[in-house]
Symmetry: C2
């Protein structure tokens, strides 16, 4: 299958870098067609603005969704953005590799979402969740933490990883129709032994082997929820 790996760590020799290299090499060795977005290496700009649009609709007042919809309609996204969208469109499966920073996505990855998942291109009012444009695609979210797993247990100091990743897994990926596999989490990567890090790599390899076949998490279905304010929802 076609796989896009989106990778967001500034240092290639980091453990994130090792997981990224493993994903790329292992998926290629298994015969998948792999594309990558190495966001730091690309110098990816995570801040949306007029530079996203070749022919802005209104150069006086910046309305991001208006500009995004127009660019989606007339194909006028800036080249760097259109290239990311093309990779996403081609992908059957996505791998996201990043460290958890301040309980969430590093800014460079959050901005990749803010810019690439454009209104009118990635979703519209009637194309979300069940009826999302990217139904049929699937994503494996692979995240590292500095703190040990016990900190993320139910009722512990932080919060369960599922809750921390919810804005990304449900609010972003499910939102545009993408199925999400159970996340792969390497906890406390700066604290554990080399043997434990090798165990993480082994476990990640077997998760990569299941990327096209593993059962995704229950999909957050729009049709299960009441329709407020007359929003028109057409379930897919």
């Amino acid at each position: 299958v076609n796989v896009l790996i989106v990778y967001a760590h500034p240092e290639p020799t980091s453990f994130n870098g090792a997981l990224y290299a493993l994903a790329r090499e292992h998926l290629e060795a298994r015969g998948h067609a792999v594309e990558t977005s190495d966001l730091y290496a690309m110098g990816f700009n995570p801040v949306p603005g007029y530079a996203d649009f070749d022919r802005p609709d209104d150069t006086a007042v910046f309305r991001i969704q208006v500009e995004q919809r127009k660019a989606a309609e007339d194909g006028s996204f800036a080249a760097a953005l259109a290239a990311e969208q093309a990779k996403l469109a081609r992908a059957d499966a996505l791998v996201f590799q990043f460290p958890l920073w301040w309980f969430g996505l590093p800014a460079i990855l959050k901005g990749w979402i803010d810019r690439v998942f454009a209104f009118g291109w990635a979703y519209s009012r009637n194309e979300r969740f069940d009826s999302g444009r990217f139904r049929g695609k699937r994503a494996l979210v692979s995240v590292t933490t500095g703190s040990p797993a016990v900190r993320f247990a139910e009722g512990s100091l932080f919060a369960p990883m599922e809750a921390l990743l919810y804005p990304f897994t449900v609010g972003t990926l499910n939102y545009v129709g993408i199925d999400v596999l159970p996340p792969f989490v390497a906890y406390g990567v700066g604290r554990v032994s080399d043997a434990e890090r090798r165990d993480y790599l082994t476990a990640f390899r077997s998760r990569l082997d299941g990327i096209a076949t593993e059962t995704p998490l229950p999909f957050h279905s729009l049709s299960r929820f009441p329709d407020p304010l007359g929003e028109t929802i057409v379930p897919g």
Copy 2:
């Protein structure tokens, strides 16, 4: 009191821009000393890297926390970063004004946190939560949404705002010791009537009046949680 307003919307004529202008003017009229970080207007770069550090410790392998700790120790943060840190250090109260994008912070604000809340400067192993460096400071988080409030009700399509803001309110602000007031949320700002938008401004004005006195949310206290792996915690 000294107030720092951190504002993250690209368009001054937006409703976020109106809330930002109101906060600035109203707090000044009430006699507070107001500083601002208008992140888009500043062209703030949200991506950490070597440019954050005047005298990097290791120019071959980028270890962000190592570099941050060194810069905190010898005062070698880059000028743009040091200026933000100085504003934060001076502030008794913070106001964050931003739109909820993909269930979280816009990348430009997330990156302000990623870079400004540096290890060794904003926190260290023994200076977190109860013993955080910024105990005594307080924050009012003011957020707008495109979707109506009913979408954020318990058991509804999205998730309660408290859960969506948790990585920021608890995982970031409480983490460094800052008390968090109940968030101010203007739901569905693109859908509501002008009268409802005026009601939001009126409600926000009264929240600003309480910035120095309002009772914060229960503080997420480190000492309530077990200490895993012998982490040394010195409660404040």
